[in-house]
């Protein structure tokens, strides 16, 4: 399901592909100016994901050391009910849930974009190395400069963007090839991983462990201070990605074919990658570089919807569900020990992907 706001050569060929996939195009009154494509199964899966998301949010808002009923939580959300309830729900649990949802959506969408552009299921931001730059930036702030608090996300942001810009500058040469981008990204990340390991071994063990906690990524003690900037950034970037994402499907035909269909391939790739990097960066500043969501969510979504192409909406929703489920497990499973959510995303995402792959292969697909 995606929105196409561009008339012209692009709509005709994809329209043919749509009919082949039994999709249905809803047209507005002005005809082809604005059309929304709805594919039955994708829409159904997205609705299911939304329902699952709502269920997890309900569980997260009502359970914990201070249990509430659903009506109590709802009235607290609406500004009624006891002050204590309101504090727990809107002051503590809701911002954490909001950060979780936003980070999950951001990572899922960014991962889908990266995998589409590089045309490689392993081509997530983690692999290309944006995350390693963010970690290096954070480690430099934490371990070398001795900074804390808000300086850490700032360092991560600078490190991440510097890394992405370097990778891009090094891999552009007569057009942007996904293959070259990945290899350059791996080369740059190798250096950054080495630097990170060096920094971790050359500092005191307490400091290093605190840094390790940040690297793992956590939603513990996240409040509105993290949620609001993240929401504002995503409100700008996600629509851009969704609009551009439509054209990404055409890239599956190959760069030359896409060019022949009127897509400005290089400009498109640059635009979507820049937006995806910014989205990943925002997510990392809010919660640390949480592993695996960007890699797994698009793969899971793709297998759920059975659709070709990027499926950004489904990928984003899957990312949010995966992240919140992981956070739930991280909070409750080993309580009173609160594990960082980054531990759980790996475990939950990894095991789920294993199960999904096996189930799919059993049925003789893929």
């Amino acid at each position: 399901m995606s929105v196409d706001v561009r008339p012209g050569p692009l709509t005709r060929p994809t329209g043919v592909a749509d009919r082949a996939r039994r999709g249905r195009t809803l047209r507005g009154r002005t005809g082809a100016r604005f059309s929304v494509r709805l594919e039955g199964r994708t829409a159904l899966v997205c609705a299911g994901l939304l329902a699952a998301l709502a269920a997890v949010v309900a569980v997260l808002l009502t359970t914990g050391d201070y249990p509430l009923t659903v009506p109590q939580a709802v009235s607290a959300l609406l500004g009624q009910g006891r002050p204590a309830d309101a504090f727990v729900v809107t002051g503590l649990r809701l911002p954490r849930v909001v950060v979780g949802v936003l980070v999950g959506v951001a990572l899922g969408v960014a991962g889908a974009v990266f995998q589409q552009v590089t045309r490689n299921p392993l081509g997530s931001p983690d692999v290309i190395g944006f995350t390693h730059g963010a970690v290096t930036g954070a480690l430099v702030v934490l371990l070398v400069l001795g900074g804390t608090g808000s300086a850490v996300p700032l360092g991560a942001l600078v490190g991440g963007f510097a890394n992405a810009a370097l990778v891009y500058a090094l891999s552009v040469r007569g057009g942007l090839q996904g293959y070259r981008l990945i290899l350059v990204g791996i080369g740059v990340s190798a250096v950054l991983i080495a630097v990170n390991n060096y920094l971790l071994t050359r500092s005191r063990v307490e400091q290093a462990q605190a840094a390790q906690l940040w690297i793992t990524g956590s939603l513990n003690a996240r409040g509105w201070d993290q949620a609001l900037p993240l929401a504002a950034g995503l409100a700008v970037l996600l629509p851009v990605l969704l609009v551009l994402g439509r054209s990404l499907t055409v890239l599956d035909l190959g760069d030359d074919a896409a060019r022949a269909l009127g897509v400005r391939v290089d400009r498109l790739k640059l635009a979507v990658l820049a937006a995806a990097v910014a989205v990943t960066a925002l997510a990392a500043t809010a919660a640390g570089p949480i592993a695996f969501i960007a890699l797994a969510a698009p793969q899971v979504a793709r297998r759920l919807t059975g659709a070709v192409g990027s499926g950004l909406v489904a990928a984003g929703l899957t990312g949010a569900v995966l992240l919140l489920l992981s956070d739930l497990a991280a909070q409750r499973l080993f309580s009173p020990v609160q594990l960082p959510v980054g531990v759980m995303t790996g475990a939950v995402g990894g095991l789920y992907l294993c199960w999904l792959l096996v189930a799919q292969w059993r049925r003789g697909l893929g």
């Binding site: 692999v127 990945i182 290899l183 080369g187 390790q212 695996f292």
Partner: protein, 324 residues
């Protein structure tokens, strides 16, 4: 080409024996090796530098060959030996041994790391071969990624909860040739040798399968057998290397690319040259690490990445890479 690689290797071995925080003249090195020299220098060479150099040779060869095999097997230029879950398995087993059993001796830990690597590789292969169609390369890579993620989570949980384990683990994780025990090297040598022989024996079927599964079959290669044997070789090689010195990233990934840029995609060249070139480069990296921050040292994995990455980037930029 083979001669050049051998030359690099020889130079690296000599440098690795002679150079360090205490420089030893070449004559003394030779005498120490023959057993005729005595004194501080000879002791350093025999007790410290020889085990370290041997470890570098074994680990380098293992990483180079397993990287080349992995890329040939999966036909994915991103594949590195860690992709089958070998590194993650070794790390998870190490953490378990450190945190739960409280083991600290390197000789015992090596076995745990090997065991972890082997068990996880088998698990990845079983998952990858579920259903009809068997273990295709893409499936193996996906299964390996998924299992790695789950195991990394396990490892991270332990090191976040237990500071003592974290302290030991962070030094293992960085990957270093320093402080190698001759006994550890002796333990690992058979695994590396068997793995190398097995890996090099797959040159012809891998070449045939590079043309695609059907053409490969028509040329007489058994798909399943080749995949199983290659995966086994990768596990033996990469598992023992990781067990010995910790995960050394990048060597296994970059060396085959470097070799392919020189020779093209023929496995008859790629596999042996990767085996020869990787230990040379690893040892040179180790020597540089000993020199740059004297009297301290930089770990070999750090040097390898910092020096190797620009080369890889330059290669990627300069020409069309030989595709797989």
């Amino acid at each position: 080409m083979l001669g050049l690689a051998a030359l690099v290797l020889l130079a690296a071995v000599v440098a690795s024996l002679a150079v360090g925080s205490r420089d030893v003249p070449l004559g003394t090195v030779w005498d120490a090796l023959r057993g005729t020299a005595t004194g501080q220098d000879a002791l350093v060479v025999r007790e410290l530098r020889v085990p370290r150099t041997l470890a570098g040779l074994l680990v380098g060869a293992a990483l180079g060959l397993s990287g080349a095999l992995m890329q040939a097997l999966t036909r994915n230029p991103l594949a590195d030996p860690g992709l089958l879950g070998v590194n993650a398995g070794a790390a998870a087993a190490m953490v378990t041994a450190l945190a739960v059993l409280g083991l600290t001796s390197r000789l015992q830990l090596v076995w745990f790391a090997m065991l972890g690597a082997a068990v996880v590789s088998v698990a990845v292969y079983v998952i990858g071969s579920a259903g009809r169609g068997g273990a295709t390369p893409v499936r193996l890579a996906l299964a390996g990624t998924a299992v790695t993620a789950a195991l990394t989570a396990y490892t991270t949980a332990w090191i976040l909860l237990d500071q003592r384990t974290f302290d030991r683990f962070r030094f293992w994780q960085v990957g270093s040739l320093a402080g190698q025990d001759a006994a550890v090297v002796a333990q690992l040598a058979p695994f590396v040798l068997v793995g190398t022989a097995l890996g090099l024996s797959q040159v012809r079927p891998l070449n045939a399968l590079a043309l695609g599964v059907d053409s490969g079959r028509a040329l007489g290669a058994s798909v399943t057998r080749t995949r199983v044997l290659t995966a086994l070789a990768v596990t033996l090689l990469c598992g023992s290397a990781t067990a010995a010195v910790g995960p050394v990233a990048f060597v296994g990934l970059a060396v085959p690319h470097l070799v392919r840029a020189l020779t093209g995609p023929d496995q008859r060249w790629v596999l042996p040259l990767s085996t020869l070139l990787a230990p040379g480069l690893l040892l040179l990296g180790d020597v540089i690490g000993r020199v740059v921050v004297r009297p301290g040292e930089l770990e070999v994995s750090i040097v390898a990445a910092v020096l190797g990455a620009p080369v890889l980037v330059a290669l990627v930029r300069r020409r069309r890479l030989a595709q797989l």
